[in-house]
Structures are given as C-alpha cells and as structure tokens.
C-alpha cells in the first residue's frame, strides 16, 4: 500500500495487519473513501473484533425469545400478543468530552434501535458511573449527562423509570453512560434489516447529513487522552424534535406502504446501515451519494459515508412504492430521498459525481473484520484483604454514613429532572420499588425492568462481580413479582490491548455466561465498550445488566416503601464476615477487600419465593439487600414510607458485617401479619431461610440483639441523612 494511504488508514484507527488484510482480500489498494468505510466498520465499536468470540459463550436462546443478538434490539414475548424490544447502549467517550450531547445522543441512538425493531418505545433507563461529586470536573460531567438524558427523553416523550448511579474515583475522566430503552411491538409487527428484492429502492429518511460524528465509532474505540477535548467534532448533536417526527413517521411506515427492511443510522452511519442490510440479505446495494440530503456544502464522499449525524434511518422499499414512501415521510415533516437501490451480487457500492468511489463486498465490510486475539494475563493481580478494624457498638453512626453515601443516598432530585409518567404505563417509577414496572395497553398484565452493575465488585473479581450483577437483577425483578427472563448486557471495560484488562474481559464474560446458564435465561443482545481508560488507568470492569420479567398482575406489585403494621421477615442468610462492600470501603478506607460474596443459586431460590408470594397477593413490601447491605435496605424502606420498624434478632458473628455486608439471596419482606406463617412455610418449601424479626410502625427504627439495643433512631434522622446530598449529581 502506498505510504500516504497506509498512514491515512492508521490515522483513522486501522491496524497494520488490517490494512494488509484489506489489500489482500480486495486484490488491490483501497480508495480513501473505502479506507474510511473499513475504519468505521472495523472499529471495535461496530465489529466487536476483540470480544466477539468470547461473547458467543453466552446463551442466546429461549422459546420466548422473538429476536436475539444480531437484531436491532432483542425482543421477548410478554404475553397477550405483545413483545418487548429492549437494548442497552453506551455513550461513554462522547459523554466524557461533551456530556450533554454525548448523553442525549446516547438516548436517541438506543431509541432508534428499538424503533428499527418496529417497537414503539415506552421507557428509558440508565446506568451511570461518575467520579465523586466533590470533584468539580466529575460534577460537571454528571450534571451535563443528567441534563442531556432529560433533555432528549422528556422532549421525545418517554418516561425515565429508573436506573443506577455510581460515584467512584475510578470513573473520574471516563464516566460510563449506559442507556437502556424498551418498546412494545405486536409479535407480527417486528421488522428486519434484511435487504431483499433486486431493484427495490433504498430510501433515506430523517435529518440531513453533516460533519458531526465523523468516524465517531473509531473515536469510541481508542483510549481517552490529553487531546480528547479536540475530539468534540467526533461527538454528534441530538435533536429530539426531529427524532420525534422521525419516530412517528417510521412507526407508521409498515409493509403495506412498501417497507421491506430498515435500519437506523447509528455508529458509522450510512455505511453501516447499507452494508449490514446488504450483507444480511445476501444482496448488493448501490448508493448515490449525490442524492443524500446534506446540511453542509463541500462534503467529501467519505464524510457522507461515515458521518454519524443523528436522527436518520435507511429503508429498503418496494420499487413501485418508493415515491409514495418519500411522501409519507414528508407528511411527517421528515426529509426523505431515494438514495440507492438493491442490486444483484453482494457489493456495497457508492457513487459520487458519476464515478464509483466505493466498491466493496458488503460481507467483508459488515462482518469481515479480522478477530483480534490479544494476549491475556495468566492471572489477575491479587487484591489485599481489608485491614482490621474494630466493629462499632451502635449501628446508628455507620447507618447514617451509609445512607448519605453518594450512590446509596437519595436521588429524587436527580430523577425529578426526568418525566416518569408520560405515556401512561408507569406502575412503579424511580425509587418506588426495586425495579420499574410498566403495564401493557388495556391490561392488568405488565413487565418489569431493572438495570444494574457492580463495578466495585468486578474490580476485585470480574467473574464473581458479573455473577453478582445478575444476582442483583434477579432480586430486583423478584421484589416486584417478576421472574427474570432475559437480559441485555452493556460491557464496559478497559483496553483489551493490556493483557490484564483482556483477562478481566474474559472473566467478566465468563461470569455473565455462567450466570445466565445457572439462571436458565438468554442474553438478547447488547453493547461492548472497550478502551475505557485515562492516563490514570482503566475503569473497573463494569458489565451492566438490563433485565426483564413479566408481571402477571400489576395490582399486586409490592412497594419499596414500608407501610404500617406489617410483619417484617428477613429472607436469606446474611454473612457476618468481611466482604467487598460499601461498608468495608468506608470503614477501612480501602477501595476493596479480597472477598466478593456471591451465590446465584441463593438469589434464584429467593426469587422463586418472592414471585410466588407476590402473585398470591401476600406481599406489601419487598426490598432486596444490595449496596449498603440489609440494614441500609430496611432504612430506605423506612424513609420512603415515612414509617418506623422494630426488629429483634439474635445471631452469631460481627454486628457490622451482619448488617452492612453485601451478599446474595437476602431481602426484606413485609406482609400483613395474617400472611406471616403462610409466607414462612412457603419459604421453607423454596429452600429459603426466613425469619420473622419484627414489625413496622411508629416513627423510629429500633433493633435489639438479645437484650441490648444496637440501633434506635428516628426515621426523620434517617431521612435527613438519606437526602442530605440530594443535590450531589444534579
């Protein structure tokens, strides 16, 4: 390859062996626009070249899975003829550079995946990891991200129904912004990206194409460095108004109007949509770049091909109906144009000013990136045990500290930036239960979604941390009566070029795969974001788990708020030994200890119990013990319900680890006293240790072990601690 062409390819992010592979496969030198096509499509973001073979470890099949990995968005059967299409996507690097637009376009992008599946989006959730709130730059990023998510989601009219926000020094400079969207589609309304029918038209619809986000996918595939802020031009700009018009136009454009296939133009834009649709259908596509609506003069063909301007879709439309299709979109105030056609063979071609500037095998572009097999460290560096510290005598002080800890503390003010109720589906929104619950149209049936991640555990042990995230998702859903049925995963990791980080990636994926097998559920697709690192180092491995389950009857969903006169039952077996946890970090001053406590089988047994009891209408309050441990969970229930509780409990082992340790299979349940015995009997049948420890009432949270009081504190004091830092992020 000529040196200047070679250098151009390297500058776009291609690797020397990839350039060689391209030349060998083509039997000639590529053109400059062709190099840009490969740079985008063979970026980590689009090709999954470093992770693809490992991702295949995860189970991907279930009888209720209507669309799996490789679809726009995975879809599961939720009953009554409805499917929920849902997917997670990361926008980490753009959000580091331009927080508002990075996050806003993250939301817009994931919505288009759901829309492309034919589903009407009905919710957004997010999983965010920021540096600590006392760091000014992290605060700037957090505020921008929240505003961006709100700005796009509110305007397009989707409720944000919950999520998880983590503050940790290890995300300073490289925040994680993972957005999940879900939508409803009738089983027979799902759409395909498979281009078919030689002679059919390729129709472009949406915003015109500009220079924003040129090769953004490639930008997302390198580490953030000092020149990062210079990369603003790689960040796209969102326009929710255009997004809304496009959404309505797309959802009302079905097969009866000539629709054959569709794909949103996300990462790598026009190139990705056209080449993937052609490759999937085993056909070729000719694009006429001169017909593409442009928003700036003098754009080069390669810029048009790899621009990541937002709010755009590409369709394959029956030839005879193409003109009508364009009119359909224009009726909705959306630009549309015929920009190409389906041709025989398998070439992806682009023409500009009468000459062919790109002529590549679509399959080579879409699926041909050589797999990268990075070297892997033989073992992960060991993590030291927590230093010894003596247990507190009274739980009050550590509890108040836990409740005010960023990431555990109340986020009501943050969530109030988001609309929770637009669309009339939200049964449980942010903070109202351990998972969001939405109802199906005209039915008492619904579905629950949760999103979680346990980066702080994965930093110690990615395998067990991934299992813990699946366990927490299982418990969250079970607390609203939904058995976990499938997940979408968002893998956020450091650079695989580092052997240790690469080993961590293997461990994370192995953890997800083994966990999914143990739960008997599939992954429906997801997202991989590697190269999350700054000069200070890589982020902790942070697999996000977005999980779904069906709720038979939304009127029986318990709340995460404690009500009066309930029998309080603790399910599960807390461990009174040191383990990596928020408490351990605060008490020892060390980020992590060596032990990650996880037992997915215990979570599964607990979930079986909770789902069964909730379906019988027995449960009024359910809250799983996650970050902060079981006492923090109960205290949150007290604060949310403005309700006290009295607990009496005798146990072995250290008080503090008992109440603040983070392990699997533990949850609080509040039932009307008349159901208590029946619940305990059911627990026995399910193999769950359960103890009736007290009841709710009054305005204090009091705990006795044996004869001694270890906690006696007013709910008001708990509330003050819980809400003290409310403005932390927003």
């Amino acid at each position: 390859m000529k040196p200047d062409l070679h250098n151009a390819g390297i500058n776009m992010g291609l690797k020397p062996h990839e350039l060689d592979h391209i030349e060998k496969q083509l039997g000639r030198e590529p053109s400059l626009p062709e190099l840009a096509v490969f740079a985008g499509m063979w970026s980590e973001h689009c090709s999954y070249k470093s992770s693809r073979s490992r991702l295949a470890m995860m189970p991907r099949e279930a009888p209720y899975l209507l669309a799996g990995p490789g679809s726009h968005a995975g879809a599961v059967d939720v009953g009554e003829g409805w499917a929920v299409a849902f997917k997670i996507e990361s926008h980490n690097h753009p959000s580091a550079v331009e927080p508002y637009q990075g996050a806003a376009t993250g939301v817009g992008g994931i919505l288009r995946d759901v829309i492309a599946q034919g589903a009407r989006p009905c919710l957004v959730m997010d999983s965010l990891c920021f540096g600590p709130p006392h760091d000014a730059k992290s605060r700037h990023i957090a505020q921008g991200v929240v505003a961006g998510i709100a700005g796009y989601g509110n305007a397009i009219g989707l409720p944000n129904v919950g999520g998880k926000t983590v503050y940790d020094t290890r995300y300073e400079g490289n925040p994680l912004v993972n957005a999940m969207a879900a939508g409803l589609v009738r089983h027979d309304g799902m759409r395909t990206a498979r281009a078919q029918g030689v002679g059919n038209a390729v129709v472009y619809a949406g915003a015109s194409t500009g220079r924003d986000g040129i090769l953004g996918a490639a930008f997302a595939s390198v580490e953030l460095g000092e020149d990062t802020t210079e990369k603003r031009s790689h960040v796209q700009v969102g326009d929710p108004f255009t997004g809304k018009k496009l959404m309505e136009a797309c959802l009302s454009f079905g097969p009866e109007l000539g629709l054959v296939a569709c794909q949103d133009m996300g990462a790598c834009g026009l190139t990705c949509a056209a080449s993937e649709m052609a490759a999937l259908g085993g056909v070729g596509i000719d694009l006429d770049l001169d017909a593409v609506p442009l928003r700036e003069d003098g754009m080069e063909p390669f810029e048009v091909l790899v621009s990541e301007s937002q709010e755009r879709f590409l369709f394959v439309v029956e030839a005879a109906k193409a003109a009508e299709a364009v009119k359909h979109f224009e009726h909705y105030g959306v630009h549309a144009a015929v920009v190409g056609k389906v041709v025989a063979g398998g070439q992806f071609r682009a023409l500009s000013q009468g000459s062919v500037v790109v002529d590549l095998p679509a399959a080579l572009v879409a699926d041909g990136a050589p797999k990268l097999n990075w070297p892997e460290a033989a073992a992960l560096p060991p993590v030291a045990e927590y230093a010894e510290f003596s247990p507190p005598k009274d739980l009050g002080k550590p509890l108040l500290r836990m409740l005010s800890e960023p990431g555990i503390a109340d986020l009501t003010n943050l969530y109030d930036h988001y609309d929770h109720t637009v669309g009339n589906r939200t049964v449980r929104g942010p903070g109202e239960a351990d998972a969001a619950v939405m109802k199906l149209p005209g039915s008492a049936r619904g579905f629950a979604l949760t999103i979680t991640g346990r980066g702080e555990l994965c930093a110690v042990d990615p395998y067990r941390g991934a299992l813990a995230a699946l366990g927490e998702a299982t418990r969250n859903l079970a607390c609203v009566g939904a058995p976990i049925m499938a997940i979408t995963d968002g893998i956020n990791h450091g650079p695989p070029s580092d052997p240790v980080e690469n080993r961590r990636l293997t461990e994370t994926i192995r953890g997800l795969a083994d966990g999914l097998k143990a739960l008997g559920i599939p992954v429906t697709g997801g997202n991989v974001s590697l190269y999350n690192a700054t000069a200070e180092g890589a982020i902790p491995p942070s697999p996000m788990v977005g999980a779904i389950g069906v709720v038979d009857d939304v009127s029986r969903v318990p709340r995460g708020e404690l009500a009066a006169d309930l029998a309080l039952i603790l399910c599960g077996t807390p461990l009174a030994t040191p383990m990596t946890s928020a408490y351990g970090r605060i008490a020892s001053g060390q980020l992590a200890g060596s032990n990650v406590s996880v037992d997915l089988a215990a979570d599964k047994r607990l979930a079986n119990l909770l789902v069964d009891a909730i379906r019988r209408g027995m449960v009024s309050f359910a809250k799983d013990a996650g970050a902060g441990g079981l006492l923090t969970a109960l205290a949150k229930g007290c604060v949310r319900g403005r309700m006290g509780a009295t607990i009496s409990w005798t146990f072995e082992g250290r008080l503090d680890w008992h109440f603040f340790g983070e392990t699997s299979g533990v949850a609080w349940v509040g039932v009307a006293p008349r159901f208590a015995d029946a619940f305990l009997a059911m627990a026995k049948t399910c193999g769950v240790a359960a103890m009736r420890l007290g009841s709710s009432g009054g305005n204090r949270l009091s705990i006795k072990t044996g004869e001694s009081s270890v906690l006696d504190i007013s709910v008001d004091a708990l509330r003050k601690a819980f809400t003290a830092n409310e403005r932390g992020a927003a």
Binding site: A155, G157, P240, K244, T421, V422
Partner: protein
C-alpha cells in the same frame, strides 16, 4: 344507546401527550379522534383536547408556534358555538399563547424541568365550568406535573385571575402566582391545566383523580350542554 361523543385531540409535530389524553377521553366514554394540527376537527366534535408535549420541539417559547396551526385558529369559533376545550401542560401553554386563556406561562422558578406527583386543591370559580361538575370545591386531587415552563404569570396579579383559577397547588411548585395550577376562560368552557389529569385516569398507575375532569365533560355533552 347514543353513539359515543367525539373528542378531537389535536396532534402537533412534537406532541407527546396525545395518546394519554385520548386514552383519558376514551375511558370517560368519548370516541377520541386524532386531528392533524394542519387540519380542523370534524364538524360533529363536541370536545377538543390540546395535548401535552413539546410542540415544534419547544425550542422557542413553549406553545409559541403551535398557536398558528389551522386546528388552533378554528378554536375561537368552536368555543363561541359552545364547544369545550381542555389544554394540558403544553396544551395549556398553547391556549395561553393563542389568547384563549389569560396571562402567560414562563420558566419555572426555581428553573428547570421538574416531574413530581403533586396535590392540587379545587377552588370555587365565578363561572361554573362543565369540566369540573364532578369536582367539589376543596377537593384534593393527585396528578403528576412534568414541565419546565409552568410558572403562571399575570401582569395584574392574583386579584385579576382569582375568580378564574379552579385549581391551586398545595405548595408553590414552579413560581406561579397564587400557586395557580389551572385556568378557565370567562365562559368556563376553556380549561387549561399545567399538571396532568390525563395521566391520572388509571388506578394502576398512581391515581384515578384525573378521570373526574373527563367524566365531567362527558356529563356535559350527554346533557346537551356542549
């Protein structure tokens, strides 16, 4: 049995509450029809809903552009002939911009978009409104609010509007004078409301308190009052 009376829901580019208000009309016994803002409501329409959302993206003052739509221009005559109009959230902003309701809705104080379940209290108004016959004075209702420009302002102050304010928030949510949450025109037939009764017509999703509004309108139509 009489056919269900028609309720027209005007859909602007960027509207996102059109389905919510249509569902609420339907539950109250209406037959909702969506009307493109470039067209006008069918002749036999008894009730018009102006939905929430971000008409034209609300990139300028909320509601500023929507007032010029043909469907909106037809409303004064529709009201003069006895028709009923409800505007929720962005719909309220549009009705104010169109001059069908007095005053202005400006940026929240403190500023920013805010979502919250709020309690509003019903007040006696000078003109009885067909939208409120099922809502006795003093009744407290729970609806979600979701807006960034809901701060109600009138240059002549509270005294100038007090007679026409059917609902006030139980505490000041957005800077509105007198905690104003809703407004009636002098006929009582045009009702603008900032929080969302249209998101409170299904007991499964938090509250059924909004149903009273739509049921009141249905009563009025059934009794031939609209």
């Amino acid at each position: 049995m009489n056919p269900r009376p028609k309720a027209a829901v005007i859909v602007f580019p960027g509207s996102n509450g059109d389905r919510d208000i249509a569902e609420s009309f339907e539950r109250a016994g209406f037959a909702p029809v969506y009307v493109d803002s470039r067209e006008t409501a069918p002749a036999d329409t008894k009730v018009v809903g102006v939905p929430g959302g971000f008409s034209y993206g609300d990139y300028w003052r909320a509601g500023m552009l929507a007032r010029y739509a043909p469907a909106m221009r037809a409303l004064p005559e529709f009201v003069a002939k006895g028709g009923l109009v409800i505007g929720v959230c962005n719909g309220f902003q549009i009705l104010v911009e169109a001059g069908l309701l007095p005053g202005a809705l400006t940026y929240n104080n403190p500023p920013g978009f805010k979502h919250k379940w709020v309690t509003v209290e019903a007040r006696e108004t000078k003109q009885k409104s067909p939208w409120l016959t099922r809502v006795p004075r003093g009744m407290k209702l729970r609806w979600p609010m979701a807006h960034g420009e809901g701060n109600y302002y009138h240059p002549d102050g509270w005294d100038a509007i007090a007679d026409n304010v059917p609902f006030v928030y139980d505490r000041n949510m957005n800077g509105s004078i007198g905690n104003t949450a809703a407004m009636l025109d002098s006929t009582g037939r045009v009702f603008g409301v900032m929080p969302h009764p249209d998101r409170a017509t299904d007991p499964h999703i938090g509250s059924n308190d909004g149903a009273l509004i739509f049921e009141s309108a249905h009563d009025a139509v059934a009794q031939g009052l609209a």
